[in-house]
């Protein structure tokens, strides 16, 4: 069980959250100017980091806000949790 220290609600277990993806995987600013290959790469290829990753999580069964955490994808250890991310 991962415990995530929500900056608004305190420490809660992972059941209350929904994973929202790696922070490095951002929608391009101007899709119209991209080539098909670049667009496909954005759509289908995720960073898939092994080790420490910075991620969006949604506290859907809590304060309903998006937060940013650092999680180690090999050990599932969670390091920091910051406030509102710009995800949604």
């Amino acid at each position: 069980m991962i415990y995530i220290n929500c900056p608004y609600c305190g420490e809660r277990n992972e059941d209350e959250f929904v994973y929202g993806g790696d922070i490095g995987h951002r929608r391009p600013e101007d899709p119209a100017s991209m080539t098909d290959a670049e667009w496909c790469e954005y759509i289908y290829t995720v960073p898939n980091v092994k080790g420490w990753a910075t991620e969006h999580w949604w506290h859907v069964r809590g304060c309903n806000r998006w937060i940013t955490i650092q999680r180690n994808s090999a050990s599932n250890e969670v390091r920091t949790a910051k406030g509102e991310s710009d995800h949604g």
């Binding site: 929904v18 994973y19 290959a37 496909c40 290829t45 995720v46 898939n48 092994k50």
Partner: protein, 411 residues
């Protein structure tokens, strides 16, 4: 030594003194005609087929840990072909058939057990999806059949009465089989080793070497090995190994969990799928109830998995089969799946000449004999068989995806 009833009888009389190790533990040579990365079922199988069918026996299989220690030893042994899209239905049905002759081909008992599977459908939507699957897969010779509530109750008399749950019907999949998963790795290893393949354990690939013509070799924890043909049959770290060759694979790595109870006497013949709960279970030959579900809700490389999944699996099974209430829970684990955006494997050439991949099976144990055979064919002839054309890496550039819903990694 050929395994047979006669050998067994002779060895019994001689007090089992003459059994030999099933395969050679090799040290790496300086160069090979072909190298396979990954000593699970898919990798060992590809090496076996290169040697047997294509006359390429100067082959090494490089395994980071021990044989069959990855997802080959972590799956739930269920071999099924209930897929909706034609490319997958055709491939998986051919894969199920390929299992039936495997014990004979390898002279190794993989303990194939023809159990059949029952899917319990919990809504009208499930029922209409099921009809579509039955009709699609029938085009390729697969036998699935919608069954009504009476037949469902007859086949699963221990299930709760349909009066208590919204059960809409079921599917009977008579072709579904189980196979002893470790035996698959051991059988391929023994057969490949006998044909001259070098099986090298504790040998981690740390780099892939290239020149303008393509692959030239690999750097490993046991030194540099040269080759012009490199096949990759890796699960869980496919993206990272392919990246060593400069190839980007559209893969996300997600745990898939399984758990078992303590063994009890035989009570359940079929594999049972609870569609509405996204859960399945069966009883192994050893007597354990083996239970599983969909993938974990977030990506991870930890082979443990998140605890709410076992909890929901057990809750689901107990709702439909209250008789298992007092079963003892024994252990739980996760395998790490490489999952593509469309939940469909990549068995393909890559932009790097001489580098081939068989990855992202999304529960790839069930396709082992066919995927291994066609991967070997791809390596030997440098062109894909018709059955795997749709599994090319190029589909992520052309957009010809196969958005399969019957795999584990449903999005």
């Amino acid at each position: 030594m050929k395994y047979s009833a006669l050998t067994l009888a002779v060895q019994a009389l001689r007090n089992h003194r003459d059994w030999r190790p099933a395969w050679r533990h090799a040290s790496p040579k300086k160069a090979y005609d072909a190298i396979i990365i990954g000593g699970g079922g898919h990798g060992l199988g590809a090496a076996f087929h290169l040697a047997r069918d294509h006359g390429i026996s100067d082959v090494a299989v490089l395994e980071k840990g021990w044989l069959g220690g990855g997802n080959t030893g972590r799956n739930t042994m269920t071999i099924r072909d209930n897929f909706i899209y034609p490319d997958n239905a055709r491939f998986h049905h051919a894969a199920v058939r390929a299992w039936h002759s495997l014990s004979d081909e390898l002279n190794f008992n993989i303990m194939l057990s023809k159990r059949g599977m029952i899917t319990i459908l919990m809504s009208d939507r499930d029922l209409s999806d099921a009809k579509r699957m039955v009709n699609t897969s029938a085009l390729f010779g697969a036998e699935h059949r919608i069954i009504d509530l009476d037949e469902l109750c007859e086949r699963l008399p221990m299930a709760v009465s349909p009066d208590r749950l919204p059960i809409a019907g079921g599917i009977h999949h008579p072709d579904v089989v189980l196979a002893r998963h470790d035996a698959v790795a051991w059988g391929y290893a023994r057969a490949a080793s006998k044909l001259g393949v070098d099986i090298i354990e504790n040998c981690e690939v740390t780099g892939i070497l290239r020149d303008a013509q393509g692959v030239t070799g690999v750097d490993t924890s046991l030194g540099r090995i040269a080759t012009r043909k490199l096949g990759m049959a890796v699960a869980g770290h496919g993206k990272h190994v392919a990246a060593m060759a400069g190839v980007t694979l559209p893969i996300e790595t997600v745990p898939l969990q399984a758990l078992v109870s303590t063994p009890v006497k035989p009570v359940l013949d079929n594999v049972v799928v609870l569609r509405g709960f996204n859960t399945y279970f069966m009883q192994s030959d050893k007597g354990e109830l083996v239970m599983g579900a969909g993938t974990d809700p977030y990506p991870s490389y930890s082979q443990r998995g998140t605890p709410q999944i076992p909890e929901s699996i057990i809750a689901a099974i107990l709702q439909v089969f209250p008789m298992f209430e007092r079963m003892q829970f024994m252990r739980q684990w996760a395998g790490i799946l490489d999952i593509t955006y469309d939940n469909t494997p990549i068995i393909s050439k890559t932009p790097v000449e001489g580098f081939y991949v068989d990855v992202a099976g999304s529960g790839g144990f069930k396709t082992t004999p066919l995927a291994a055979k066609l991967h070997a064919d791809l390596i030997a002839n440098d062109r894909p068989d018709a059955l795997i054309e749709a599994y090319s890496l190029e589909r992520f550039a052309t957009g010809r995806l196969i958005l399969e819903r019957a795999s584990y990694g449903n999005r």
